[in-house]
């Protein structure tokens, strides 16, 4: 008898656990409500809702089938920080990809790490120094100089001028 009771206990606990997990997988109540409303309002066919690559979204949490079975939309609102990007396939046609690969190859071969390239300011500075008439070295303005000063100025402006 104790054996049967223990089993029952176990089964009950397991069922609770499963119910708990199932609940966790379901989206929060408020969100489900909103989704339901949205579906009633829009009459869009479900396929167009995701022109992006659906495979990429598979990694995040999906709606459980029980609430959105009829429409089959995969919406991920509780998205984990994945390293994916949603793109429009039309922009990335095969020809564009070939062109990009070819361009990358040329760039890597001509301007890659082994090519001994020099920055423009160094090149022209050396040219200026080697000239018969010596001139100053070339130094390009770098936007990252004096960052804290610029930030202070922006804060001052926001407070006193705007």
């Amino acid at each position: 008898r104790r054996h049967r009771e223990l089993l029952k206990e176990k089964r009950r606990r397991h069922q609770e656990l499963f119910a708990e997990q199932k609940k966790r997988r379901l989206l929060p109540e408020a969100v489900l409500q909103e989704l339901q409303e949205l579906q009633d309002v829009s009459t869009r066919p479900p396929e167009q809702a995701v022109p992006d690559e659906p495979a990429k979204l598979g990694s995040s949490v999906c709606c459980s089938g029980s609430c959105n079975n009829a429409t089959g939309i995969y919406i991920s609102l509780t998205r984990t920080k994945g390293n994916y990007k949603a793109v429009c396939l039309k922009d990335h046609s095969v020809t564009g990809l070939h062109q990009q690969l070819a361009q990358d190859f040329l760039n890597a071969q001509l301007y890659g790490p082994h090519t001994n390239r020099v920055q423009a300011n160094e090149f022209f500075s050396i040219a200026n120094k080697k000239d018969p008439v010596k001139k100053a070295a070339v130094q390009f303005v770098d936007k990252s100089w004096g960052q804290d000063k610029k930030e202070k100025a922006a804060r001052f402006k926001k407070r006193w001028v705007a």
Binding site: H98, L101, A102, F105, Q109, L110, Y111, H114, T115, N116, R117, V118, Q119, A120, N121, E122, F123, F124, I126, A127, K129, K130, V138, F140
Partner: protein, 569 residues
Amino acid sequence: IGCEDGSVKIFQVVPGGIQFERNLDRRKGRVLCLSWHPSGTHIVAGSIDFFRVIDVTSGQTVQRIMVNHQAEKAKRECVVWAIALLSSGTVVSADSFGRVQFWHWEQGTLAESHTISTSAALSLAVSEKEDSIVVGTSTGATYQLQLLPVRLGGLEKRWVRTKPFQFHSHDVRAVAHSPTALISGGLDAQLVIRPLMEKVQKKGYDAVLRKFTFPHRRLVSCARKARLLLFQFSQYLELWRLGSTEETGKDGEVLPLCQMPEHLVQLKSKGPEHIYCSCVSPCGTWVGYSTASRFQLYRVRCDGDGVSLRKVPKVPKLLPPAYQLQFSADSESLFAASARGSVHVFQLLEPGGCKHLHTLQPPSGCSEAVYLLAPSADGHWLAAVSGDWAIHIYNLKCFKHHCVVPTYDCAVSALAIHPSTNNLVIAYSDQQLVEFSIPEKQYTSWSRAVQSRGLHRTWLERDSPITHITFNPKNPAHILLHDTYLLCILDKSLPLPDDSALLMNQSALKQLPETARKRQLHAFKICKKFQPLLFMDLLDENCLVVVERPIMDFKTQLPLPVQQKKFGT
């Protein structure tokens, strides 16, 4: 055409384009360079680490040769950047290790190998006689290799690297070999022609090194009344309004502006094609441009602070599009230069429309396209220069051909019609200047005087052509012209200089007293202060607008050059 996937495709050249014929044998590895055998029986295709020879009739690869097995540092792949197939069956390859190698493709052996540079050899060209090759490298150096006998008078010949040149600061991506000169084009925006001393007959101007940085076409248009400038870049146009000043000052002073120059509009061209020609109307309300496949016309409206640009719909389709665009002086017509010597005349309609009026054609036909146009200020005449260097003049009132200027064996670089006398002033690319009277259909007496006297030696030795000619409405004797390095006001009422006088005598004249100045004054008043010049025009009697393009402005934006290790740096 060699493709990314390793295939080589043959196309037929038909009028209007190319037509696919067939595919040759495909192998793995992108094709980077191709060369036909002079007889057309074989094609050699260079790839990464190897090149292959294809028999054209069967389409099969008959030989595949690995290029990399001799490089010490075989970690890197060897890219064959340029290749050539000589009639003797020798293959010449230029690769990324800086080597130029000669192969016997039938035996699959390496005949000679020359390492000419530490960085990549990017381009090569073979002379017609196949005894000289020019190679361009990544460092900007070009080298000549020549086939010379090993012993004087002997029969055995070998390739030897003879002349090194350093004309460019950036990569040399294209080279060509003419019978008398080596031509190289670099990423530093320079085209260099180096005549070969042993091939040049007379030691005159032909033997000089020529360097070109700017195109010999007009890239800036000016709307005089509206004081607007239109700049033509390769993918977009920029419209600027000029600033103005209320002050006056002495010679050499910089006056402060009361109104700054304004960048009004940037008009981007759709698609990858370059903008070939562009123009703004004298009133400043119409802007037109043409690419290789499209011709577009826009209406510009400046109300208060805002500028609006509206495209003119239903512009008549021109096949092929315009080689030169020019608005008439009253901004009511547009002239478009087209193929086979024809010029289309369009009428511009308010508020923004365009109607094809007429097509002007030379009476005896012409196979070349028109590349320069000059309308007269009174709207009566139009001069058109076609590729065969013939200058035709048309009467716009009755749309008939009026006359043709006597032929001269040189290309025209600029021409313009005088507003009051209707004389056509022509500048040729050999620096000759000619004035032709349109109503009288003959050269003017001043022009005949210039021709018999001859132009000054310094003027004839300039190496950039005149790209724009304009006039002073207040002084009919003045002709204003400019090339890349000087602007000149030609005063027809003054005597012409002879060779003994100094041509650029403006600074000398300034220091002389009034009486001495009168004796030395001559017709050419030259200013070399603004260089390099892209454009010069007279706005009104007090203002001259001059557009300079400093070379460092764009040199700093070029792709990275290769470091040249120099002693002491």
